[in-house]
């Protein structure tokens, strides 16, 4: 069956078929891999992939394998809950805090990595940086204002987007 997953926000399409015995055949980009579940214990499993054992951990939307923790979502489920999240959520406040200083103003052109806003959270200063090039269309909070977690702090129009 044809399936799709969002791994770290990137769409991956693949097919699954039943193989020999308890094997599953996974095909991605025309390449097929043999997988088998060897052990499953709560959030932990051991999976055999083409003869090699891999330990994996899984929570609701996250998986850890080897050196990487990654976000993994079923796009069908994700579409149900999304919608309110902004496209530039990297430039929202990651936790409650206070806006200390604006480093840019409306109408400024910014480049990726440029500091936009200094906020204070947990007694430390943090600089919110631009995650893409663009034009500042609105700064949403005044200096000194308190903000909650996950709140958009700034609107930026992406360069090249009309």
């Amino acid at each position: 069956m044809e399936k799709e997953l969002l791994i770290n926000d990137e769409s991956i399409r693949y097919t699954l078929e039943k193989g020999q015995g308890d094997e599953i055949l996974l095909t991605v980009d025309g390449l097929t891999f043999k997988g088998r579940l060897l052990e499953r214990e709560n959030a932990r499993s051991v999976i055999q992939i083409d003869g090699k054992n891999i330990q994996a951990w899984k929570s609701k939307n996250h998986i850890s394998i080897g050196d990487q923790s990654l976000k993994i979502e079923n796009p069908r489920e994700q579409r149900k809950t999304k919608g309110k999240k902004s496209a530039n959520h990297e430039m929202s406040s990651p936790m409650p805090g206070k806006i200390l200083k604006h480093l840019v103003k409306e109408g400024d052109t910014v480049t990726t990595g440029q500091g936009l806003i200094v906020m204070e959270a947990m007694k430390m200063e943090h600089t919110i940086k631009a995650s893409f090039d663009g034009l500042v269309t609105k700064v949403l909070f005044q200096e000194g204002e308190l903000v909650g977690a996950g709140v958009d702090l700034i609107d930026i129009e992406k360069s090249g987007e009309v």
Binding site: L16, I24, K58, S64, S69, M95
Partner: protein
């Protein structure tokens, strides 16, 4: 000689648990504190007696001196272990306990006060002939005056909060034109963090290493060192990877630094556990930075290489015992590494993150030590420090220990919220780190190398299979009922 029967731990999280473990081993009852918010955290129920501090700001709970002293009396406590942070270096707490007839498992108040102020501590060190970094530590706080002093010292310089610690209120200034803005920002942060915006300025050493020496002294005038730790891998001036021994020291330099630390203990008439921090320059010269008059976060690596229990020694010293060994019996054996697992996002300037820990993990290696303040299901909030756990390994040599830590981190994913785990693994795999070229600006210098890399095809395959095999239900409780795995789906598919 005293023998404690009941000790109150004036702390929380991993350090409260760590101290309670030693108390349990020594057959001493432990009194643990927790707040309403922390009812489900492991430390709340770890000891023999649990006390709920209620809710409110820290000043009403863990930092409420009069309340803690009252609790000591009410529960007939013999002594208090303060852990690190919180009240561990607050002289008023030490004094209040003394008045109440309760022993503090810590240094004499005078040593705490002298070392608590960076300026006083440097004056004492200067008199004792301990090497210091050139700088201005005076009372004149006018910005123009400080700017002139900065020029006199020569850029780059470092601005530091006088009352500071943990990197708060600290700024590096590369040139004259950046000084004023950095000074303002440092003062603002110092005022917020410590209620005092006084700063000092110092020569900034371009390629420094952070070397610190664990010291331990008893009430019988014996002063020991337990060798050094190197803690150069830092972000936001806070340590994230620590090791012992340091790869930077020759045996003679090691002896010299450790002897200097003992000399400081002697000068201070120190008692208990302490850490003397030094900055090591490329040419082998080293300068006194500060002395922390408490147990340090990274003390476990010293325990691993010296085969000791520093909390046990603290307790024995506080009971008035004479430590029954000599300096030459304290050996550094093998190599130990600690990493600090933080709820934070390394790809967004190490900003603290919040969320629920769904999965902690489990080791598949020999003798890995996880000192964690959280278990699966616990929530990490903004109320407390974002450090959620420390992972400590020991092996025969440095390379072996690095490899072991890398593998150990694979076993502890701390899934559910954003942490620095993957980032720590990238540090451990970095060639320069593995060569032992670890300066305090390592994380900055190699920022590009340490960025999250995209997934390999292999990893994508593993992730998809893990996802399919482990089902798509949200709950992963032990007795869960409705898991749909790829296998079920495929079987169903075939039946249809």
């Amino acid at each position: 000689m005293k023998k404690f029967k009941r000790v109150l731990i004036a702390n929380r999280g991993e350090i409260a648990i760590r101290v309670a473990k030693t108390l349990r081993e020594l057959d001493i009852e432990s009194v643990m504190l927790f707040t309403d918010e922390e009812k489900d955290l492991p430390h709340a129920s770890f000891g023999d007696i649990s006390i709920n501090l209620g809710s409110g700001p820290l000043s009403d709970t863990y930092l409420n001196i009069s309340k803690l002293v009252e609790l000591c009396k009410e529960h007939k406590v013999d002594a208090v272990h303060p852990g690190y942070g919180f009240l561990s270096e607050r002289a008023p707490f030490a004094k209040a306990l003394k008045e109440a007839g309760v022993e503090l498992i810590g240094p004499p108040t005078a040593a705490m006060e002298a070392m608590g102020d960076k300026k006083t501590s440097k004056e004492i060190m200067e008199k004792a002939g301990i090497p210091l970094i050139p700088g201005y530590h005076g009372d004149n706080q006018e910005s123009d005056f400080l700017a002139k002093e900065a020029v006199k010292i020569g850029f780059p310089i470092l601005i530091k909060a006088s009352a500071g610690g943990g990197g708060k209120g600290m700024r590096i200034v590369e040139k004259d034109s950046e000084f004023q803005e950095a000074l303002e920002s440092a003062k603002r942060e110092a005022m917020n963090a410590f209620g005092d915006d006084k700063v000092l300025i110092e020569k900034y050493i371009t390629d420094p290493r952070h070397i610190e020496v664990q010291v331990m002294s008893d009430t019988h005038g014996q002063h020991f060192h337990f060798w050094e730790r190197e803690c150069s891998i830092q972000r936001r001036y806070q340590k994230i990877v620590e090791e012992s021994p340091s790869p930077a020291l020759s045996q003679s330099l090691r002896e010299e630094i450790c002897q200097t630390a003992v000399k400081i203990s002697e000068t201070m008439n120190y008692v208990g556990a302490g850490t003397v921090e030094f900055i090591l320059d490329k040419d082998g010269s080293f300068y006194f930075l500060e002395m922390n008059t408490r147990l340090q976060v990274e003390h476990p690596i010293t325990e691993m290489v010296t085969g000791s229990d520093l909390v046990q020694l603290q307790i024995r010293v506080a009971q008035g015992e004479k430590l029954p060994f000599t300096q030459s019996e304290i050996h550094q054996n093998g190599h130990a590494i600690e990493v600090r697992i933080y709820a934070e996002n390394p790809d967004q300037d190490f900003m603290p993150s919040i969320g629920t820990i769904d999965v902690v993990g489990e080791s598949r290696l020999l003798g890995v030590r996880l000192d964690s303040g959280y278990k699966a299901g616990n929530e990490v909030t903004t109320s407390f420090d974002p450090m959620i756990a420390k992972l400590i390994v020991w092996s025969t040599g440095r390379t072996e220990a690095i490899n072991k830590m890398d593998k150990a981190l694979s076993d502890y994913p701390f899934l559910g919220l954003t942490t620095n785990r993957d980032y720590l693994k990238r540090i451990l795999k970095h060639e320069t780190f593995r060569e032992g070229v670890t300066f305090t600006h390592f994380v900055k210098t190699y920022a590009d190398d340490l960025k999250a890399r995209s997934l390999s095809r292999e990893e994508v395959i593993q992730a998809i299979l893990a996802y399919e095999f482990m089902g798509t239900t949200t709950k992963l409780a032990e007795n869960e009922a409705h898991v749909t795995t790829a296998w079920d789906q495929l079987s169903g598919f075939r039946l249809n």
